[in-house]
Amino acid sequence: MLSRVEPMSAETAAAITWWYDLGALAGDLVLAARGEQGRIWRLQTSRGSWAVKELLFPVEEAQAARDVEFQLAARSAGIPLPMPRRTRDGQVVLPADRAAAARAIRVYQWADLAPDQVVTPAEVGAVTASLHLLEREAEPGPVEAWFSEPLGESAWADLLDDARRGGAPWEAALGRWLPDLIALDGAVSPPDPARTMTCHRDINIENIRCSADGGVVVLDWENCGPAEPARELATVICDLATELSPDAAQAGYAAYLASEGPERLDSVGDFAMAAAAQGHLLQFYSRRALDAGESAENKTRSAKRLHDMLSQPLTLAWAGYLLDLIGSQAALLYRRQHCYFVVVLPAASV
């Protein structure tokens, strides 16, 4: 798959080396990895190895500058991450024309990862706690719809219709889960501005990696932005449960508590961000997989992601199960069962 990508030219390598002041060019740009938002190329210069990120989606300089600021704060607090580079004129993003490339560029110090080694749930929990303990600006702005708004019943129905019309292999799974996914939308309440802070918003086992020289390194900070940290914690727990196991989720949460992480998960509402992002991701991948004009690479990638996500999507039942799982371990101190009824009065009587 990676070999089909058009190589970056020597001219591009030279431009990047000069603009980011990386010393003397010592090799070609070599494709190393592909993520949803960019391709990663490795560049060797006299000053070391660099990760050159080719941005597949436009990124505003102001947004990039904010995420760099957050990265630097995290790094100062001891969270290991590849050092982001700025250009000679202080910019984070090098526009495509300056890079002599098809797309804009960002550059990071290269991080050597330990091959075939997956971080432990405890490491994920500890890193999440460290991030939540960072001193940050409260109320950094509104939370984007991707992380805060449900897809909505009609959009879900459209998604299923599209899958049917396109003969998509995920149609059956989507149809089976649809009532649960629509019900989950009901748990997505707007974030409380007083509780939002700048968060990484993409903490998962693909972005917390084992470093070749020991320990972990945290990658992919470009999604960072406002969120309720508790809701981010819930997305981390969900990811551990689905990507590894429920036991991993329990271990990750225990490590978060042991690392003095300040948030606690105690209601399905904490899963609002995970639910919102899940809906938007399913929609994104579905559209991409069914788009005739999309590259084969993207269509295949998207279909696989849909298959994986629909094998165990987040639902109210799943969120409740995860809450019970982690609650039985640490957060829940005492439960008094069947205490009282909630009486809902008709509106006219209020």
Binding site: S267, L332, L333, Y334, R335, R336, H338, C339, V342
Partner: protein
Amino acid sequence: MLDVLIVPMTSAYAVEIVGWRYPPPYDIYDMTDGDPGFLTNPENGYFALTDETGLIGFRLFGADGQVPGGDYDDSALDTGGGLRPDLTGKGIGREAIRTGLEFGQQRFHPRAFRVTIATFNVRAQRVIAALGFHQIGTFPATADGRSFGIWIRPEAA
């Protein structure tokens, strides 16, 4: 029927609690200018009460349950708490206090529980009397002279 849960006090809960405002005369319980950090400090003994809908109240154990002006000794564990303003007067308070007492027994094993209640707060007095507390005295608060009663409930060893 809902379960009442006791969970650690988080900063988010603490921020919510210090923002609660009660109608007079219960506004003496408003934590105006309260510091959420005080509530999340484990040494101050605050715990959150939740149910499926989220935060419904809090319970506290320790000296912060005392009112300056009262005569307190070490024979009992002070306890107190609050309910989300929109839930008061619906019979939930009794279950919240009962849950707190059960939790407190399990966690702290006190010889007795002690609560301090404003004399005007007949509603709260009825609830704790029903839970087995007996009034042992009254005193004027140092801050404003308002009358408070001290109530005790001995616990089985």
